[in-house]
Structures are given as C-alpha cells and as structure tokens.
Symmetry: C2
C-alpha cells in the first residue's frame, strides 16, 4: 500500500481552482509538495495552475499510482471502471454513499462492485484521505491556514472520522508533536482499519499508532491485525459512540452502526490495545506516545513547587490507576543534601515557592536513578522568582539520563503558556492540568 | 468582615523594596490601587516608595483596618499583641506555623492565643490572602507579570491552597472570566471557610462561589454555612487529597489532616454544594458559573459542523449524567425549513462542512425555543470556509434570547485558538475539548 503514502505521481479527478472549492484546496496542497508529478483531471480545463489538465485518467498516458476523487458520488463507479489498468489506488473524498440512505445505498453497491471488478484499491469514500508528513502527500481538503499540519514524526493516526482527524492534527501541530502517516478512512468501501494496521505494523516510519473508531467491519480480523501491530509498537484506540446517545449519531455520520462498547473493550484487551477514554485522553495519549518512551511500570514520582497542585496530581494519578508511593528514607537522605529542610519530601515532593531551577533537575535525577519510580510528573508553577528559562533544558537533561518518561505539567495563564515553548524546544509534550498529565502517564504505563 | 476586602487603609508589616522579596511585591501591588492609604511598617526604613515608613503599627497614629504581615513566624504573636486596639484585621502571609512540626506547633499556639486575647481577626497564616477585583486590594505576593489578575466579575473563590488560588486566577484571567473576592486562607488560625461562606452568602458582589478544600475545621458548621450560602447562590467545591496518596501531602501542605473523602461528599450533598471532581472540573466550573446562567434541567442539545466531534460530545455528556435526547419530529420540521437535507438532525445535530454562520444561530434559536432542551453545547470546527468572524455574535444573540446556558466547545489548533477571542468578547467561556464542555454543562445542571 506504499502508493497511498508515497506515490510516484498523483492525479486529481475533478480538479479545479477558485476559493471555497474542495478540489482547489487539494490541488494546491498537492502541488506544493508533488509539483509536476500532479496530474489534474477535468474535461472542462486545458491547464490548471500551470499544469496540463487531462480529460480523463486514461488520457494521461502513464500509469498513475494514486488518484484523488473529488466529484459527485454518482460519477465515481463509472470513472473507476474507466481507469482500470492504469490506476493503482484511489482516495474518494466524496460523500453521499452509505451514510445517506436509499440512493446512497445503491451508489455504495455500485462502488463496491467497481472496486471488485477493477482491482483498484480505495480509501474512502466520505473521508479526507491521507496526510503523510514524510512524503508530503496531503489530500486533506481544509486549507493549511485553518488547520495546521504537524511536523514529521513517528506517530501514525487512523481515524474513521474526518473532523476528528483534522482536529487532532491541528492540536498536535499546535503542541509541536510530529506525525508520520495520518489516514481519514471514512466509509471503508475497500481499505479498512485492519489493513491499515497491518501496513503500519511493518512501517519503519511509524513508532506508535493512534486509532479513532466508531465501528469496525470485521471484529475478529481487527483484533488479529491490532494484536500483530501492538506486538511491534504501541497501539492506542478510542471507541466513540460509547453510549446510546452516540449510537444514532455515529450511524448517520459514517453509515456504520456503532457496535456495543463492551465488546470493543474486550477486543482491545485481547489485542493489547491501549484504550483511550474519550477525546481528551486520545489527544493526551498522542502527545505522550509521540514524544516519550513508554514506562516500565506504574510508579510515579511527582515533583512540584506548588503544594496544592501536587496534591491534585496525586489524586489524578491514583484515579488513573498509577501508584504514588512514598519517597524512601534513603532517597530522602539524598534529597536533604541539596534541598532545604522546609521542602516537603513526601510524594508529591513540594519544593515550595523558594525553589531554584537546580532543585527541580537534581530532585528529578535522584528520584529516577534507582528502582523506586518508573516515571516522573514534573509540575513547575512559574510564580516563584527563582525559576528561569534554563529550567526546561535542565529538566530535559536529567530526564534523558534516566531513560524513563518525564511528563511536564504546567497549569496557568499567559506567562506559563509563554514558557511552554521552552519545554517543547527541549522535546517535551506539555500538559496543562493535573488530570491531563495523569492521563498521559496512564497511557504510557498501560500494559506495564 | 468588609475590612478584609475593602479596607479604608492597609499596612504592610515587614515592608521592603528590592526584587525577589515577597513584601516588595505586595507593597507594589497595594500601592498601585491603594496609593497613600498604604502604610509601610518597618523600623529599618524612614520611607519606602515615597511613603512614610513607620517603626510599628501603633506609631501610625491612626486606626488601621487591615495589616498584611510578611515577617518571620516567631515575631508575629508579639506584633499582634502590640497592635491591640489599633488594628481590626490581619492577613498573615508567613509560613512556619502548624504545617511545620515541633517549633511550628508552639508558634501556632502562641498565634492563636494572641488572636484570642487581642480580638484582631486573622486570615492565614501560610496563605496569599485576598485579591478583590472590585476594590483592587491585592495581597498576593506573586508579580502580575507572572500571574495575571482577572477582571472584576461575580465569581468568588475560596482556596485553602495558595498555589491553587494562583493557578486558578491565572487561568481565569487568560479566559477573560471575571472574579469578585478571591481568598487564599491557608492554616485557618482564626477565619475559616465557614465564616467566609457566611460573608459571601450576603455579599452583593458575589454571584457564585467556588471552594477548594483540603480539609475543614468543623464539619457540621461547614455544612450549615455552605447550605445557607447555596440557598442564595451556587456553591461549587472541590475536595482534594481524595485518595490515600494525597492524604500525607495535604497534611504537610497546610498542616491539616485531609478527612475521609466520602464524609465530604455526604456533606456536600447535604449542603447542596456542586461537587467538582478535580482540577479540570473546578476550572471548567469556574468558567461556566462565572459566565453563564444555570440550567433548569439536564437535557442538552449538541450542535456542530463536525460529526466525529459531535459524537464525542454526546459520549462525554452521557458520561457527565446529562440527557442527550433525540430531536423531536416537530423540531426536525422547523430545521428542514432552513437546513439542507444532508444535515444530520439527530442529537448531535451535524451541520456538515457546508455550514454557514446562520445555520448555527438559527438551529440554536429553534432548539432552545421550546421545552425540549435545557441548554446547548455549540461546537463549531473552524475548518469549513462558510464560517466567518460573525459567528460568535450570531450565536450569542440566539443564546441570549433563550435565557438558557449556551456552552461553546472549539477543539483545535492555532486558527481555532485565535477565534476564541471573538467568543470571549461576546461573553462566552470557551471550552477546548468535548469533555470540558460536558463538565461545564454538568456543573450548570447540578441540582436541576
């Protein structure tokens, strides 16, 4: 399936220009990374954006790796049949198939038989297609000024919902988390989440997989594919339409009946999938898996300069089934060599408003050195005057030496948010509430 | 207790200048709003910041409404006794009393007997004191460039933890939510949360109260005070140190043994307190109570242009014990008059990527008009080109006409975050995840 992610050339069926048109946005995004390897297809035009425009895929006179279809649903089965023999893969953006009833169901059947007869592989319909941060392929039809694209990274995302995929990549771009392959796969007339998981399992550019599911086609196959993938790299999934309220909405959204939640949970466990409970945990998990090593156990040390926030984090960690064990007497003796007596050396460790940068980094280094803790949540509140811009680098150095996850939690307002950039520059994802930090820690420790 | 919030004059015992000193920060903040009604007290100086500096409170030669004490703990009982007869209220910033053992316990006893003997009312010790957005009184010792102060508003906050109070006001300032009285009350040597609740119950400047508790002194009195307050205005509380892990930390933090969580929950129910479960829900609740009317019931309508995100919100609402009832046939007929047939008219209502501004506002107006729904969550994803900067105003107008809560949920990245300002200018709090919107809705509907 490499041609879906790194095609040698790409056609746009229904190409056009002009503001507000989906196909124009796709055209611009593709040309910006694929240049003259883009073939516009539309009988109405001779040329588009300086590229020759072809009346049909066949007229290109070359084999085409990938074509993006942005034409009305009823034209698509015929166009696929015409392209037999010259086209390997198709991304069908258009809606109006299974998710609309009556006419939609008839078109869906026509599409599926065209796929079967031609052997052309299809992602979609009713989807955004593929965003590949390494090859630069980008079939998402939302302009980049509205939805930012993340930098290249190791996290791949599979999403049944297009709006969810958009929102997730936009948030990850904002958080400076890199991605590898992102697929909005829609109605699954051909390629489904199981086949994509098989591909990502063997994909060297993918270090972790995050999956948004409303429903799966074949449950048994999904569990097997996911298990094979999760043996090689972490696989996290969120299942939405968990409650009755969501069921009818998920059905009309992609035409699939959302399955019973408990069955999904059992499947997740069997496949060693890390379950994310809802949107926030999905995003927190993406940030954690996209920026950190996994934890080898569930024991967390919490280091802060704000006692109240430390207690909140401890509460949230216990709620996320992590272990917040007390600091050992031996470790306390270590701390006392460089911390003043008014610091609280319980867990959370409270460095108080008198804190200096090095108190954080040295406490972290000592806490993670032995076998007492598997990871740390470091929560600097930026009020105290002793904290400077050196802090993120010092924490990063102490964390790297341990090879254990270090999760940064910085709740606050404008000053705090301005400092997040420094943490991101040092490779950290930044979490802005005690609960989000605990969710991230929980995701990294699942299965440990 | 008005003198704690709107004193006619205020002294600073231990006044000084110079960067990094707590008393210097307090001095600057007080002078900026109280001008020459500030009396610096410190025998080391003749004058400070152009104001005459006095060797003692008595030497001022005037009755003093409020004095902020920022000197070492062991000096305070003696200074209070010296001030007998000239001082009404004291805010004691200094730590080192009950929260440190041994010597701290002895000093705590000395402080309590000085309070009893002199009749001076005391907030603290080990606290930040009072931030009053209406009078301008600000005894928080963190500079304003590090922690922003919110604009004047109707929400009052009581917090046992100083760091929690700081983080909360910083976040609320960032979110453009106004506050009335904010009190960080620390160790409660005299004034406690119950007395503050009694005061706020009758305070015309307070429309809602948010309370951060690690422990309460007298449980029965707390429940009675809170019940009297919640009969007049909404009272929300978060109890931290909920789990064993938190208990020891909360103890060393303010010297109080965190009580058993279930007892608190029972007390909250008895007092009709809205319980917030952790930091995120506390902040979400502050934003909701600080910007919206309460809901008269639990029935939510969800309006979005992103199907996947809509399903997520529905899931989160059901998780927050709200009701996500289907749209009635009559209402569907209303919608069909102005919405195209491909919009999904279940609940969530999906206006799709073809959405225009008016689809949101008209759908909202119709949905809230009758008796079918008690509130709305409106979740515009900003990808679709049909959405413009007029959207927040149109949604605000439709919402105001209904007199029901309208909660705005806009997950996303840079473009979305830039648009939040428009919602805030129209009086909305903005929630950035499905779960945070559902938590806000849940807080507004508690007790309905």
């Amino acid at each position: 399936m490499d041609f879906f992610f790194n095609p040698k050339n790409v056609a746009i069926v229904g190409a056009s220009i002009g503001s507000g048109k989906l196909s124009a946005v796709i055209m611009e995004n593709l040309v910006s990374s694929y240049g003259d390897r883009v073939y516009p297809v539309n009988p109405k035009y001779e040329s588009l954006m300086g590229l020759r425009c072809y009346p049909s895929l066949k007229a290109i006179g070359d084999n085409v790796d990938l074509a993006v279809f942005a034409v009305s649903a009823n034209a698509i089965p015929g166009l696929l049949r015409e392209a037999e023999g010259v086209l390997r893969g198709a991304i069908i953006i258009s809606g109006g198939f299974g998710e609309a009833q009556g006419e939609g169901e008839r078109l869906d059947a026509g599409l599926r038989s065209a796929i079967k007869d031609t052997g052309i592989r299809v992602i979609g319909p009713n989807c955004l297609g593929v965003l590949d941060a390494h090859s630069g392929l980008d079939t998402f039809f939302i302009p980049k000024d509205r939805v930012k694209r993340p930098k290249p990274g190791r996290l791949s995302i599979l999403s049944q919902s297009g709006s969810f995929a958009l929102t997730a990549v936009d948030e990850l771009a904002q958080e400076a988390i890199g991605v590898s392959r992102v697929v909005s796969y829609g109605n699954m007339a051909d390629v489904d989440e199981s086949e994509l998981l098989e591909y990502l399992a063997h994909d060297e550019m993918t270090g972790a997989v995050a999956l948004y599911i409303e429903s799966v086609g074949d449950g048994r196959r999904f569990v097997e594919s996911a298990r094979r993938c999760s043996m090689k790299k972490p696989v996290m999934a969120v299942k939405v339409g968990r409650f009755d309220a969501g069921v009818s909405a998920a059905r009309s959204h992609t035409g699939a009946l959302a399955g019973r939640y408990e069955l999904y949970r059992a499947g997740f466990r069997k496949a060693s999938i890390i379950e994310a409970h809802g949107y926030e945990e999905f995003i927190d998990g993406c940030k954690a898996l996209g920026s950190s090593v996994r934890a080898k156990g569930k024991r967390v040390v919490i280091i802060t300069d704000g006692g109240g926030v430390g207690v909140n984090i401890a509460d949230a960690c216990v709620g996320a089934r992590l272990e917040v064990d007390p600091v050992s007497d031996g470790l306390k003796e270590d701390f006392k060599k460089f911390l003043p007596p008014y610091c609280s050396l319980a867990n959370p460790i409270d460095l108080t408003g008198s804190v200096l940068d090095e108190w954080f980094s040295e406490t972290l280094a000592h806490a993670l050195k032995g076998d007492l803790y598997d990871m740390a949540i470091v929560a600097p509140l930026w009020g105290p005057p002793g904290l400077t811009d050196r802090l993120p680098r010092l924490i990063a150095e102490a964390g790297r030496a341990s090879n254990k996850p270090v999760i940064v939690c910085t709740p606050g307002g404008a000053y705090t948010k301005a400092k997040m950039r420094l943490f991101r520059e040092n490779g950290f994802a930044v979490f802005t509430s005690p609960e989000s930090a605990a969710r991230a820690a929980g995701i990294l420790a699942t299965g440990a």
